[in-house]
């Protein structure tokens, strides 16, 4: 009933391919759509939400095509990325208007229920223009939930949220997922999804790069080779003993310090401090050299 199905879906803009032949099925529970900026996450989410036509392939939500089909919004709730809401309305008025647009039999009850879910009852009578980023995001979720849809799509819902708001939103998504809803959200920040227990779909350069249980993929990501820059009181001596450790695959003396290649992130970070202490070497600085998201995702594509 609430499954999202993509079969060989592609989307291109002129000569630029934004989404390249993606096939996937997203069922009940929380699913994260991850990938670096420009990978095509938004394009994919917009197509699923019925706000972009696929150039090729089949795309259905709850069994119906979403493009050119406003009826799909009876079963789909969408939380758009852009922060623009009718900010002159109060939170409650905005959710109530959405309930009326859905022609719900009792808009008042539906509004109260949706605002209760996102815990915004205290602020519901204030204008949205006075809301913080996190509150705006929550009132948008309330509007998207007002008709109790089995499918909820969220475009970058954690953007600009502080860690506490992020946690709150993640808990909310999990609660909704446990009720049997299909929750799909996009994100380009891995840390945002640390507490996620569901599945993820990783999109890189328009293709589906990895797909499956979040914990397994997370393990892959943390155990990937890391490069660190280390500055110590005696780079050469520390380098000599580091190369003897199994977790280290390469050491290079550079003008700026010691560049260390570690095959196991966890083991290296535990051993470095012990090693330095035993040798009486002082650690001055330890910097990850390749923490860019692109390198994380690129590694996922290779494995």
């Amino acid at each position: 009933m609430s499954t999202i199905e993509l079969s060989h879906v592609s989307r291109w803009y002129g000569n630029v391919v934004a989404i390249n032949d993606i096939t996937m099925t997203i069922g009940a529970g929380v699913t994260g759509l991850l990938g670096p900026n420009g990978a095509g996450k938004s394009t994919l989410l917009h197509m699923i939400a019925g706000f972009l036509a696929p150039s090729r392939g089949e795309l259905t939500v709850a069994g119906a095509a979403s493009w050119h089909n406003p009826g799909i919004y009876r079963v789909v709730g969408l939380v758009p990325e852009r922060d623009s809401v009718y900010s002159f309305l109060t939170g409650a008025a905005f959710v109530r208007a959405t309930a009326q647009l859905h022609r719900l039999p009792d808009p008042e009850v539906a509004t109260r229920r949706a605002i209760g879910i996102v815990e915004m009852a205290d602020a519901q009578d204030r204008r949205i223009s006075t809301y913080s980023k996190g509150m705006r995001q929550r009132i948008k979720v309330a509007a998207a939930l007002v008709h109790d849809p089995p499918v909820l799509l969220l475009d970058e819902p954690f953007n600009g949220m502080d860690p506490r708001q992020r946690l709150h939103m993640m808990d909310l998504l999990h609660r909704l997922g446990e009720q049997g809803r299909t929750i799909l959200f996009s994100s380009h920040i891995l840390e945002e999804v640390e507490r996620l227990s569901g599945t993820i779909q990783v999109i890189v350069a328009g293709r589906l790069a990895a797909s499956g249980d979040f914990r397994a993929i997370r393990r892959l990501m943390t155990s990937r080779p890391h490069v660190f820059m280390v500055r110590t009181s005696d780079d050469r001596r520390l380098g000599a003993s580091l190369i003897g450790r199994p977790a280290v695959t390469g050491v290079e003396l550079t003008g700026r310090g010691l560049q260390v290649r570690a095959s196991d992130y966890g083991a290296f970070s535990r051993e470095l401090a012990v090693l330095a202490r035993d040798q009486g070497i002082r650690l001055r600085e330890l910097l990850p050299a390749d923490e860019s998201l692109e390198s994380v995702f690129a590694y996922l594509v290779e494995t």
Binding site: S42, H46, L52, V76, S84, Y86, L101
Partner: protein, 243 residues
């Protein structure tokens, strides 16, 4: 008119349109029209030529299209620009209802902010409910219905609605309409003038079209513009990440 959904869309549209700073703009031209009329009335007590100029040239061909342009392109265009339209479109509301409600609000606002001032100016200028005052009023009424359909359509079709609308009103209607006879046949301004002249019967209005031509062409243009607007809104797409 469109049930609960239409009323909700109309109410939000009305508040959004009036609440924007742009709302100051569409009070400006009508204000100028009435003030200039009063000033002329005080300085030219009984000369017969100026009321036609101020009502026809300035009222019908400047104040009306400019006001309709600002209102017609903002009832929907502003929401498309800032993305808030997504909240409206992510509901099962028929796109015809969305366009219909927004178009109705645009027409009503244009009537309040342009047509009523034109009537007031007409009454002041001609000293009562004369044929000229009534003709220009009816022409403006019809013009607001036609112009808004065109400008609402333009705001769905292009993101540069104000620029395109200005080009249409100034270049197509203003310059080409005076030089090329064929352009008059596709000019909302000429339809309004034709309708106005059928009552006013004043050759100085320079109406090029007869009443029946103006009414039929006006209906066709209005209907076509609204149909295009609905179809384009049904294909409304969100842009992906910047490539």
């Amino acid at each position: 008119m469109f049930g609960l959904q239409g009323r909700v869309v109309a109410a939000i549209t009305l508040r959004a349109t009036i609440g924007r700073k742009r709302a100051l703009l569409f009070t400006l031209a009508p204000l100028v029209l009435v003030l200039v009329t009063v000033a002329l009335k005080l300085s030219h007590p009984e000369r017969a030529s100026w009321p036609v100029d101020i009502l026809g040239l300035f009222g019908l061909t400047v104040v009306l299209p400019l006001t309709a342009l600002i209102i017609g392109t903002s009832v929907l265009g502003a929401e498309i620009d800032d993305g808030s339209i997504v909240h409206l479109l992510a509901t099962p509301v028929s796109r015809t209802v969305v366009i219909g409600a927004k178009y109705a609000v645009a027409c009503a606002l244009t009537m309040i902010f342009a047509v009523v001032p034109i009537l007031v100016a007409g009454l002041i200028a001609t000293g009562g409910a004369t044929r000229l005052a009534l003709g220009v009023f009816v022409g403006a009424l019809a013009g607001s219905v036609m112009y808004n359909a065109v400008f609402v359509m333009i705001s769905v079709v292009t993101t540069r609605a104000i620029a395109v609308g200005l080009l249409y009103a100034l270049i197509w209607e203003g310059v080409l309409g005076n030089l090329v006879a064929g352009a008059r046949l596709l000019s909302v301004g000429q339809y309004s003038l034709g309708i106005a002249n059928s009552i006013a019967r004043d050759p100085r209005l320079n109406a090029a079209l007869t009443l029946s031509t103006a009414v039929v062409a006006g209906l066709v243009v209005t209907a076509a513009a609204l149909v295009i607007a609905v179809r384009r809104l049904a294909s409304f797409s969100l842009k992906g990440e910047p490539a």
